[in-house]
């Protein structure tokens, strides 16, 4: 099964939940940090990274001698990554989405595949689990191709057990792509106006995917009841509530996993784990 921990908004406690689930997941799993812009899970799990490999995207390079400046490539490219200016062919690799279209349409065979560095993919182990994370190079604007390369590892990882995904925050294309593979989505939120607003957006964005979804309300006693009311009215199960406490905030700030460090929290997360499993299983038998 594949489980994704998501949140409409950053800072609601997604990594707190992911790291705690990882600590209490009682079967070997693969922990995948797909928040490639700001991967944080490793800061809490301290994995042993056995391999760190650079990730690339294919971008065109030009053979000036063969190019007739016909502009076929420039006319096709939707991202202004290749253009003919005066009598020169210019390639802007950082704007290229790697679609390969220019290579396919060039009548002269004047373009050949080069590459641009997207970031890196790190693999290793964290206790009994496997660990994978992507890290976008600073200055690189496009996270989806890096995420795509990590998602391509899923079929192989899934053979050996569950996959737990720490998804990027927000509700735009990267966030949806990160949860699209999951059998079950956990939405982490907090009961504040900001938390509620972003929770609603995320719920609306993920609902069309038709996956079982449940909420985790972090800092549950801090704000108002809008989130719980909304969950009740829309039949969203609340799988866990994490109270607000200074101890939790402090444990987190020391890089500790709260489910195992603080007495009383372990049952909250084992219950969450069991509810996620039940939801995913029910979905699987339905299908």
């Amino acid at each position: 099964m594949i489980y994704a921990v998501a949140s409409g908004k950053g800072g609601t406690g997604k990594t707190t939940v992911s790291s705690s689930l990882a600590a209490l997941w009682d079967a070997p799993a693969a922990l995948v940090d797909l928040d490639v812009e700001e991967p944080n899970l490793h800061l809490f799990l301290n994995p042993d990274l056995s391999s760190v490999e650079k990730a690339w995207i294919e971008v065109p390079e030009a053979d000036e001698d063969k190019c007739t400046r016909c502009r076929a490539c420039a006319d096709l490219c939707q991202f202004k990554a290749i253009t003919v200016m005066a009598d020169t062919l210019l390639v802007f690799p950082e704007m290229c989405h790697g679609c390969g279209g220019c290579l396919a349409v060039c009548p002269e065979g004047a373009l050949f595949p080069g590459r641009r560095e997207l970031g890196e993919i790190c693999k290793g182990t964290a206790g009994r689990h496997r660990f994978v994370m992507g890290r976008l190079r600073v200055g690189e604007a496009m996270s989806p191709p890096l995420m795509r390369q990590i998602r391509e590892l899923f079929p192989a990882l899934a053979k050996d057990g569950d996959i737990l995904i720490d998804a990027p925050p927000g509700v735009s294309c990267p966030a949806i792509n990160a949860v699209a593979d999951a059998d079950c989505i956990v939405l982490v939120t907090e009961p504040t106006p900001f938390g509620f607003h972003d929770f609603k957006l995320a719920w609306e964005a993920f609902t069309p995917l038709g996956k079982p979804m449940g909420a985790v309300i972090n800092r549950a006693d801090l704000g108002d009841s809008q989130v719980t009311d909304f969950c009740r009215d829309n039949n969203i199960p609340v799988w866990a509530e994490i109270p607000y406490s200074r101890d939790i905030a402090q444990a987190y700030s020391r890089g500790e996993i709260i489910a195992t460090m603080l007495k009383g929290l372990e049952p909250v997360f084992t219950t969450l784990r069991d509810r996620m499993r039940a939801a995913a299983r029910k979905e699987a038998t339905h299908a």
Binding site: I176, G223, Y252
Partner: protein
């Protein structure tokens, strides 16, 4: 005209609450929410929308089943695996489509249309702190920097019109495309961070981006008393890099309480007000230095 962008790398550090307070404290500023994916500033400012416009960006491929002969060329060419084959033939998964047009251009039957995409709405509004420019991207859209760039241009134009000399932006989170666009042409980045391992990690990553843009940086540590040692570490790392410290704000319920009242934290008579006033004065002094 001067422009300040409040960013954080990491979400949830309190970027929007701080921006709300600065919006209250600023004179002659136009406000701009660049977090178009999950904008929150409007929750504090209760904007009255004056103009609303559609944001159109890019195109998406759509196969016309009547013209499609099922040759599968498009599926072979698509590098995003956006072309799916099912019982009814070929279709394009809009979530996976990047709008590169390769399938459209190379389909032997020209059976693929390429309509423009309506990706969200953007607004110009009145608030009690002045004019605000903001937007909402539709869920699942590519969080492109284009909308961010458009909002900034709009905010600058309105500032010009109204004779305001400051654009105050709630920046985009992360370090990818939207934040890169929100940094472009800005005079000062205020990085709001918190003393946690993720806070420090993300501060370092977003700082690298600021240095690349040669943007002046002020660092504001929120919830500093959660971990005083790490606060010290963040501050000495920041000054070591030549950044100015914009102050420390303690962890305080007042921030959430203000949010529940839909107010800036400086409007509620909380103890944080003098601290935030001092931070804002420091930020303005740095901006003009």
């Amino acid at each position: 005209m001067r422009e300040i962008v409040v960013i954080s790398g990491k979400g949830g550090a309190g970027k929007t609450s701080m921006t709300g307070a600065f919006a209250h404290l600023a004179d002659n500023a136009i406000l701009c929410d660049l977090d178009v994916d999950a904008p929150d500033l409007h929750l504090l400012l209760s904007p009255q929308i004056k103009t609303e416009e559609s944001f159109l960006s890019g195109n998406e491929a759509v196969i016309d089943p009547d013209r499609c002969i099922g040759c599968g060329q498009c599926a072979e060419l698509c590098r995003y695996n956006a072309v799916r084959e099912d019982a009814d033939g070929y279709r394009i998964d809009p979530l996976a489509c990047e709008g590169c047009k390769v399938c459209v251009a190379l389909c032997p039957e020209q059976a693929i249309d390429f309509p423009q995409k309506h990706c969200g709405q953007w607004y110009v509004s009145d608030t009690r702190f002045g004019t605000m420019v903001h937007a909402q991207l539709f869920p699942g859209e590519e969080n492109s920097g284009r909308l961010v760039t458009l909002l900034k241009q709009k905010a600058r134009a309105i500032a010009e019109e109204q004779g305001l000399d400051l654009v105050l932006c709630d920046g985009a989170p992360g370090i990818g495309c939207p934040v890169i666009s929100s940094m472009a042409g800005t005079n000062l980045a205020v990085i709001v961070t918190e003393p946690t391992p993720s806070g420090l990690h993300d501060l370092k990553r977003v700082a690298e981006l600021c240095d690349r843009f040669r943007t002046k940086v002020a660092v504001l540590v929120n919830k500093w008393d959660i971990n005083p040692d790490l606060t010290e570490e963040i501050e000495s790392w920041s000054t070591g890099r030549g950044y100015t410290l914009a102050g420390r704000i303690p962890h305080d319920r007042a921030v959430v309480d203000a949010m529940l009242e839909r107010k800036a934290v400086t409007e509620t008579g909380s103890d944080l007000t003098p601290l935030l006033e001092r931070s804002w004065a420091g930020i303005l002094a740095l901006l003009d230095s």
